[in-house]
């Protein structure tokens, strides 16, 4: 591998920039990075949903709705039972059901997948606004855990090893997904189904079954992203709580070329950009209206898509219902 490949030069730049900022002000840089990581996690997890679905050829544009409804369920079940673990479990169940509904519409009914996903989004918006009740609270959020020893490392400790339980679960899922996609039968078959379903089919892999399984599990992961928002990062729920993160995640997935680590890197970049923007405003270095920093992720999403359009290569069978025997 080339030492100064494009990818390596990105990394080098990131490391140098971090070192520079750290040398200027260690505490603030550390806290910005920790915040950036916290912002990045739900985006990265949501991107995993997209990756799992699209690797098997299903476009999931309902990630936003999945996250929204699960965040809602996580919060209100936790509030009702006063137990955040039960809230989390119910949220994951909800997310999986959203995935299953998408699978039914996309695989069995062969509906247009974009419309199917949009239905999920509107359904989630409708349900959460109707059922929303003000003034509920949860007993606590998932508290930050300090990983022994590792959390004491300067900079890396606070950034990577002091987080709530859901963060660690999330990171584990992302790494596991990476390994699974490239090193297990499941991953090989999933990729084959997403690229060229008829060859998977002729090799004895059930295209429909694998699509059902992946989209449903992905829904569960989307639920984790939603629950992370309401039970760990924020600790509350509002209407329209997920604020487009599910769509940004799709752009990150594309930017990361459908590779879990690539999407994670893209999410970290996004998260950091936001954390830095916030910090700059707190420091009053620049005076950008809050509305403009708030739209930054959306503008970046469009820019990313416009740049990468035509340059990246999505799974070839993406969005197309598979008909047996079409060879």
């Amino acid at each position: 591998m080339k030492l100064l490949s494009k990818r390596n030069s990105y990394f080098l730049f990131a490391i140098l920039a971090t070192a520079f900022f750290y040398s200027k002000d260690g505490d603030i840089t550390t806290s910005v990075y920790a915040t950036g990581a916290a912002f990045a996690l739900p985006l990265a997890l949501a991107a995993m949903v997209g990756i799992m679905c699209e690797r098997t050829g299903i476009v999931n544009i309902g990630i936003e709705g999945t996250m929204l409804l699960s965040a809602f369920v996580a919060f209100f079940v936790s509030s009702l039972t006063q137990n955040i673990i039960i809230g989390l479990i119910c949220a994951i169940f909800t997310g999986s059901m959203m995935g299953l509904i998408l699978a039914v519409m996309a695989v069995s009914w062969r509906m247009d997948q974009i419309i199917a996903g949009t239905i999920l989004n509107i359904l989630a918006t409708g349900l959460t606004s109707f059922l929303y009740v003000q003034g509920k609270t949860i007993p606590s959020v998932f508290q930050a855990i300090e990983v022994p020893v590792l959390s004491k490392i300067p900079f890396f400790g606070p950034v990577l090893f002091i987080h709530g339980a859901l963060t660690f679960i999330g990171i584990a899922i992302i790494l596991a997904l990476y390994v699974a996609i490239y090193h297990t039968s499941w991953g090989l078959r999933s990729r084959a189904v997403g690229e060229h379903p008829s060859s998977a089919d002729t090799a004895g892999v059930s295209v429909a079954r694998l699509r059902y399984i992946n989209v449903t599990i992905a829904g569960g992961i989307g639920a984790l992203a939603g629950a992370y928002l309401s039970l760990e990062l924020v600790g509350s729920f509002e209407r329209g709580f997920t604020a487009g993160k599910g769509f940004t995640a799709l752009a990150l997935m594309i930017f990361g070329r459908w590779n879990p680590l690539g999407a994670l890197a893209a999410a970290l970049f996004f998260g950091l950009a936001q954390a830095y923007a916030n910090q700059l405003m707190i420091d009053q270095v620049v005076n950008i209206p809050t509305q403009f920093t708030a739209i930054l992720p959306y503008v970046m999403t469009i820019v990313v898509l416009t740049i990468s359009a035509g340059k990246v290569r999505p799974p070839a069978a993406e969005g197309q219902p598979y008909e047996k025997g079409q060879a």
Binding site: I114, I119, T125, F130, L250, Y298, I302, A309, P314, P321
Partner: protein
């Protein structure tokens, strides 16, 4: 075959027998959705019958009620029409929301800033400015779709949030009403306020007339034919000499202009100013309404009136029965779910564009 005598005026329509089944689907969808929502109302401990009675009595029970209903229906007709025009060209414009907002704000600006114009000039100018800005917002998505292959669903939805942010900023800084605590624009000039005739808002008639014009354009003009052909089979369209790129962009421009007009009508006829959180769900309601009306420009009108009535009666329903007005959002979602599965499958089944979704960047 020489016996076949069909009146020439039927050309352009899929002239089969009036398809009762396909119009039954939306009706059934609405009824089933209401029944499902009734169960949820019951579970919340309220009485669904009281709730629905109150809802519809408020909406359709009096002249003032009907006036309010039509007022609420106006932007719904227009956002439904905007979505329908997109779908006709095979584009899923789920950004009617953002286009509507930019139209509303632009119309508010025009309504506030232009002085000394008579109403018959001020109102049309403000409406056109609103439509223009809606058109620009949608045009961005159309351009990115045609020339970069970026899927319009993502760009329109991102633009919704972007427009909302920018509009918030404009309404709270440069265009803010001076010396006021609330962040909102000033009230528009009296000359820009759209008149109401015996409870009936002018905007509603503009919306219905526009729906009829769009219906005519799609069915009778060469431009309409281009849009319809690209929507149904873009290979055949290309082969027949229709520029697919140009058609995609112009369909988005038209769609956005209609949505922008919807926002402008709302500003000039109902709210008289722009304030952040301006009618949030409107754009998404358009999707449900378009599909409920079978993507037919005139078919959306009854759906829009029904939903507009629900919106008009929702506040009173909460007063009478304690059911949250967000019930309407839930109903919309359920209706959409029920109406789309069979309908959309049918609408796109015969088209040769195998799928609207074919990757993000090709």
């Amino acid at each position: 075959m020489s016996q076949t005598k069909v009146a020439p005026k039927e050309v352009g329509k899929p002239a089969k027998n009036f398809d009762v089944g396909s119009w039954l689907i939306p009706i059934i969808a609405v009824l089933v959705a209401m029944a499902l929502a009734a169960i949820l109302i019951k579970l919340q401990g309220s009485n669904p019958i009281t709730a629905y009675k109150s809802l519809f009595k408020t909406a359709f029970g009096s002249a003032a009620g009907i006036g309010a209903t039509l007022g609420k229906s106006t932007p719904l007709v227009l956002s439904g029409l905007a979505v329908a025009v997109g779908l006709r060209a095979g584009l899923f414009n789920i950004g009617a929301q953002g286009q509507l907002l930019s139209g509303a704000l632009a119309a508010a600006w025009a309504g506030v800033s232009f002085h000394g114009l008579p109403g018959y000039i001020h109102i049309p100018i403000a409406l056109i400015i609103g439509a223009f800005f809606g058109s620009i917002v949608a045009g961005i998505s159309g351009f990115l779709k045609a020339y970069r292959g970026v899927h319009e669903v993502i760009t329109t939805i991102m633009l919704n949030s972007i427009v909302m942010g920018i509009a918030d900023y404009l309404a709270s800084h440069p265009l803010r009403e001076p010396d006021q605590f609330l962040t909102r624009t000033s009230e528009i000039q009296a000359s820009a306020k759209m008149p109401v005739y015996a409870h009936l808002p002018l905007g509603f008639f503009i919306a219905v007339a526009l729906a009829a014009v769009i219906w005519w354009i799609l069915g009778r003009t060469t431009s309409g034919f281009r849009i319809e052909t690209v929507g149904r089979n873009r290979h055949a369209a290309w082969y027949a000499g229709i520029s697919v790129k140009r058609t995609v962009i112009s369909a988005m421009l038209i769609s956005g202009a209609i949505a922008g007009l919807g926002g402008a009508v709302e500003t000039l006829g109902i709210t008289y100013r722009y304030a952040p959180a301006f009618n949030l769900g409107l754009g998404f309601d358009g999707i449900t309404i378009a599909l409920l009306g079978r993507v037919h420009p005139l078919g959306i009108i009854p759906g829009a009136i029904l939903i507009g009535g629900m919106r008009a009666g929702a506040a009173n329903m909460q007063f009478d029965s304690g059911v949250a007005p967000e019930l309407v959002d839930l109903l919309m979602a359920l209706i959409l779910l029920l109406v789309t599965a069979p309908l959309i499958t049918r609408f796109f089944k015969n088209s040769s564009n195998k799928s609207m979704t074919s990757g993000w960047g090709n």
